[in-house]
């Protein structure tokens, strides 16, 4: 076929390391097999990639490692169905397919000079981590104000990225981490309660700040209410949308919301933009 690169043909890749996060989430650290492809790969925080296990199929995931890490890509993946189950059964050294990067990205250019509030729940921390690590990287850190990270999960076992969450990010300059779990546990000395209530209690101020949210739809709904009460405007709040995807490149028609394709025009939207979409997601 023609000389151009076929967007539906994955790059071959190798799993280098598998980091268990929770009972059903693992982080896969991978590298592209072809050195040219690896050198040419550029992604932005918030972008996506399609992962293949040949025979099981493909699915879309957020790239959870920051673009400032040039030597590998990471994906943090929850076991759900066929493809994710097949991935979870693989071991380091296993061969998979990757295509991407796809989608828009968090507008970190617009965030410059502002403080940032990250609110995440469960596996929703995956896309946020790419941006958090990008912002906290030494070469970028001076461009942003204070960073507040509020993250919650059902239980201690369900907290992703424990190393960074409990003993990593808060060592960075002007960075505060709040973590919470839904119900009290003997080994947990931190906060107990749902994310939206904790957010109201922490009460971050909205001035010159952008809030970035990712998590289950119910959490998002209540976090939005809480942010409104705290005085955040829709244009200050960003989130990502998930729709089922097959091609990732605006052809298969599966991820439309009105005239938008989430795979091309998303997954990142401000709440002001989401308000203009037909309510069909």
């Amino acid at each position: 076929m023609s000389g151009e690169r076929n967007p539906l043909l994955p790059y071959r890749a190798t799993i280098r390391e598998i980091i268990p996060e929770t009972g059903d989430v693992k982080t896969f650290r991978i590298t592209l097999d072809n050195p040219q492809a690896a050198a040419g790969w550029r992604h932005e925080p918030g972008q996506l990639a399609m992962l293949s296990v040949f025979g099981a199929g493909e699915a879309m995931f957020s790239i959870s490692s920051a673009p400032t890490r040039r030597d590998f890509l990471e994906f943090s993946i929850k076991r759900m169905g066929k493809l994710t189950r097949a991935l979870h059964e693989m071991e380091a050294g296993g061969r998979i397919g990757v295509r991407g990067p796809y989608g828009n990205h968090f507008p970190y250019e617009k965030f410059q000079g502002k403080s940032l509030l990250f609110v995440g729940g469960g596996i929703g921390m995956a896309p946020l981590r790419s941006l958090i690590d990008f912002v906290l990287a030494a070469e970028n850190r001076p461009r942003y104000g204070r960073v507040e990270i509020l993250y919650g999960a059902r239980s201690y076992d369900d907290l992703c990225f424990k190393a960074q969450l409990l003993d990593g990010w808060h060592h960075k300059p002007d960075t505060v981490v709040y973590s919470t779990i839904d119900r009290a546990e003997a080994r947990w000395t931190g906060h107990v309660g749902f994310v939206p209530a904790y957010l109201e209690q922490v009460a971050p101020r909205p001035e010159n700040k952008c809030a970035v949210l990712c998590g289950p739809p119910v959490m998002i709904r209540f976090v939005l209410e809480a942010l409104k009460k705290l005085g955040f405007a829709d244009g200050q709040i960003y989130s990502t949308l998930e729709l089922r995807m097959k091609c990732g490149v605006g052809k298969c028609g599966r991820c439309n919301i009105g005239a938008k394709f989430v795979c091309l025009d998303g997954p990142v939207f401000s709440m002001a933009e989401i308000g203009e979409l037909p309510p069909e997601f």
């Binding site: 040949f54 605006g250 091309l264």
Partner: protein
């Protein structure tokens, strides 16, 4: 670059024989009373007297099932793309379907251009065939089309009396004519062109569906939350045939077929937004879980979304969906009802 020639009616079959020698030829064929585009070896197999083939010729560029690549993950990992196609001719494309290609081109082109579609598009010469009758479902004129419109063809043939007017519209069309020049004398072309214009006027007067689209897109957009969609949705069976037969629908699924030994192939297959599972998440959440939402999505895609995205209508007025729907859901009636809806 229009240049006009004439093809004698009786020379059509030998011309197709000649084309089949030089190109891979796909043309309308009658199978069990149904006209479909098929690979043919010569003119005798081709059906020249037809209304509109059941399945649109988009299938030539975007097949119903298509292998994306085969894989061998048993030892190492090998991925193999299928070979491209050889020089092809797609013969007998009606004017509405020519516009269908124009609607699909920006979908499969642009950023992340689809190499499968592009390869076939590049290596195919499209020979259009003007209509000689108007079917009861036709409403191409609503979109500025016409039963004799040549737009989108490389070579356009229009039956006028005992012969065909042959309009050469692109370098590909010119090459095809050059390779069979003795079939296409220039004499009488002026007269044939005048006859085509008259045929166009005569056919346009015969349309029974007069559809006025003025203001429909804008009105449809205000009806997103309207209860109107319940009306067509109540009857819809969700069979999806309207989308499979639509020349502008492009939704597809991607699936792996494994032989059980970690070798196999990845395929893409036509899919439909009329199916419940189309948007179903693994969690059980479904953004278009109800038939009302799916019917609304289909009509808004046709009347609004495609236009917003590509500046071209998502419907060409071929009427296939009207003819095929088992419960008579009729896009022209939906258009009329959108205008009335409050």
């Amino acid at each position: 670059m229009t240049a006009a020639r004439v093809l004698a009616g009786g020379r059509m079959v030998p011309l197709l024989d000649r084309i089949a020698q030089k190109y891979r030829l796909t043309a309308p064929v009658k199978e069990d009373g149904v006209v479909l585009y098929r690979r043919v070896d010569g003119g005798r197999e081709v059906c020249l007297d037809f209304g509109l083939p059941l399945v649109p010729p988009k299938a030539h560029f975007f097949p119903q099932t298509e292998r994306l690549f085969s894989y061998n993950a048993a030892d190492g990992l090998e991925l193999k793309e299928p070979p491209g196609i050889t020089a092809s001719v797609l013969f007998g494309v009606r004017p509405c379907d020519l516009r269908g290609f124009a609607a699909l081109d920006p979908v499969f082109g642009g950023r992340f251009a689809d190499v499968y579609y592009q390869d076939k598009r590049e290596h195919t010469t499209v020979v259009g065939l003007g209509c000689t009758a108007v079917r009861p479902e036709c409403f191409c004129t609503a979109y500025g089309g016409s039963p004799v419109d040549e737009q989108g063809a490389d070579l356009m043939l229009t039956r006028v009396g005992e012969s065909y007017l042959a309009e050469i519209l692109t370098p590909k069309g010119e090459q095809l004519v050059r390779r069979s020049a003795e079939f296409f004398p220039p004499e009488g072309a002026g007269e044939a062109e005048r006859a085509k214009a008259a045929l166009g006027r005569e056919l346009e007067a015969r349309f029974t569906r007069r559809v006025d689209l003025a203001g429909v897109k804008e009105k449809a957009n205000t009806l997103f939350e309207s209860s109107y969609w319940g009306k067509p949705a109540h009857r819809c069976l969700g069979c999806g045939i309207c989308t499979y037969l639509c020349p502008t629908c492009h939704c597809f699924d991607i699936v792996d077929e494994d032989r059980g030994d970690r070798t196999g192939a990845r395929w893409r297959c036509w899919d439909s937004c009329m199916f419940r599972d189309f948007t179903l998440h693994t969690s059980g959440h479904n953004p278009r879980g109800s038939k009302m939402e799916r019917v609304r999505n289909r009509f808004l895609h046709k009347l609004s979304y495609h236009l917003d995205r590509y500046g071209l209508p998502g419907c060409v007025g071929c009427g296939r969906c009207i003819a095929a729907c088992p419960v008579n859901i009729d896009i022209t009636r939906v258009i009329a009802e959108i205008k009335e809806a409050g």
